[in-house]
């Protein structure tokens, strides 16, 4: 380029290359699927060890993405009675239950004013693909109250495109306060037993106070109910990383 003065342009050194060490960043954040953690009980840990081996085998063949309750997923399953032998269902994950190979998750969507929920097994060979369309955690781990909420909170477009994910670090928490249909509800969600933070209760004050009668504040201090999973998680994480590297 020639500048207006006729002199050669000032030398500008090239920008320094920014080295992003992606390997260390990925190692910092690890997600252990909740179905790997064995429940508290007196069963032989050998059973859980064998189940974990089978789960890892399945994960090597089929990619199960990391997802939490509140994500919007699209699942394609094989079905002999469907056209093209496969069917696709899009929905928000309400609940993740079960441990080991029987781990399930429930997807909910409202199609043509009709609420539909399907309970899928994570490790079922009938599942052909799981795609995460929208990544967001909610304030609770159990979104069963969406059944009694206004249908607009459970509707998701079937042809929704996957929302591109920006950071590889954090999963955004959606602090949405959901509005409910008028009572009666399927469960009394205002009671402290459910400990729900994601509902905008429009009930009068005396009803909220009356619901607090059923609170059990001693439960959080109960030592017999404690289940510390940090050490178990460490062991399982080591096992997993060894097996997956093979």
């Amino acid at each position: 380029r020639v500048s207006s003065d006729g002199e050669p342009p000032k030398f500008q050194p090239p920008p320094k290359p920014v080295i992003i060490d992606r390997k260390t960043q990925k190692e910092e954040r690890r997600f252990l699927s909740p179905e790997f953690i064995p429940p508290r009980g007196r069963t032989d840990p050998l059973k859980y060890y064998i189940e974990r081996k089978d789960m890892i085998q399945r994960r090597k063949v089929f990619n199960i993405p990391e997802f939490y309750v509140g994500h919007v997923l699209a699942v394609t399953t094989a079905d002999p009675y469907a056209s093209d032998k496969s069917k696709r269902f899009v929905g928000i994950c309400i609940q993740r239950g079960g441990k080991g190979l029987g781990a399930t998750f429930v997807l909910r969507n409202v199609i043509e004013d009709q609420g539909v929920e399907i309970c899928y097994e994570l490790y079922s060979p009938r599942i052909q693909a799981i795609e995460v369309l929208k990544l967001e955690k909610r304030l609770d781990e159990n979104l069963m109250y969406l059944r009694d909420a206004l249908p607009e909170y459970s509707t998701f477009d079937v042809n929704m495109k996957p929302v591109p994910r920006m950071d590889h670090e954090e999963i955004p928490v959606n602090k949405l306060q959901v509005r409910m249909k008028p009572k009666p509800w399927s469960k009394r969600w205002e009671r402290p037993k459910y400990n729900i933070k994601g509902i905008k209760f429009e009930l009068p004050e005396h009803k909220m106070k009356a619901a607090q009668k059923w609170s059990q504040p001693w439960l959080e201090f109960d030592m017999l109910r404690e289940y510390d999973t940090s050490k178990i998680e460490e062991k399982i994480w080591k096992e997993l990383s060894e097996e997956l590297e093979k």
Binding site: Y81, K87, Q114, G115, V116
Partner: protein, 122 residues
């Protein structure tokens, strides 16, 4: 539907008619209720035939979806859905907007006409 914690369909359950027939869609002061389930057990699941009482008349119907959770991979609906049917098995309505489970396709021979008028499958 009006019933609260109802499970599968049995006698005296209120039911929601899902096709576009006049009998199912005209408002009446009483909701359509099941009077009899054509089953060995009195409990109706998806694909069973029942007798409904609508607007003072008796009509047969086919269960298309219920609130009770079934096996995994099968859909669970938020209301007990039903399609009005004749004795021969021909549906009375001409269109079914609400989604219908794929499991009904197994009995293609009996329900072929109902499946033909269905739009969405789940």
């Amino acid at each position: 539907s009006i019933t609260g914690a109802c499970r599968a369909i049995q006698k005296l359950t209120c039911v929601r008619v899902v096709d576009n027939s006049t009998l199912g869609n005209t408002p009446y002061h009483r909701p359509p209720k099941c009077i009899h389930v054509y089953n060995k057990t009195g409990v109706g699941k998806v694909g069973d035939k029942i007798l409904l009482a609508i607007k003072g008349e008796k009509k047969k119907a086919l269960i298309v979806g219920h609130k009770m959770p079934g096996s995994t991979m099968t859909p669970r609906f938020d209301s007990n859905n039903v399609v009005l049917i004749e004795d021969s098995g021909n549906p009375i309505g001409t269109r079914i907007k609400t989604p219908i489970p794929y499991t009904l396709r197994r009995r293609e021979g009996e329900f072929s006409k109902v499946l033909a008028i269905a739009r969405n499958f789940v």
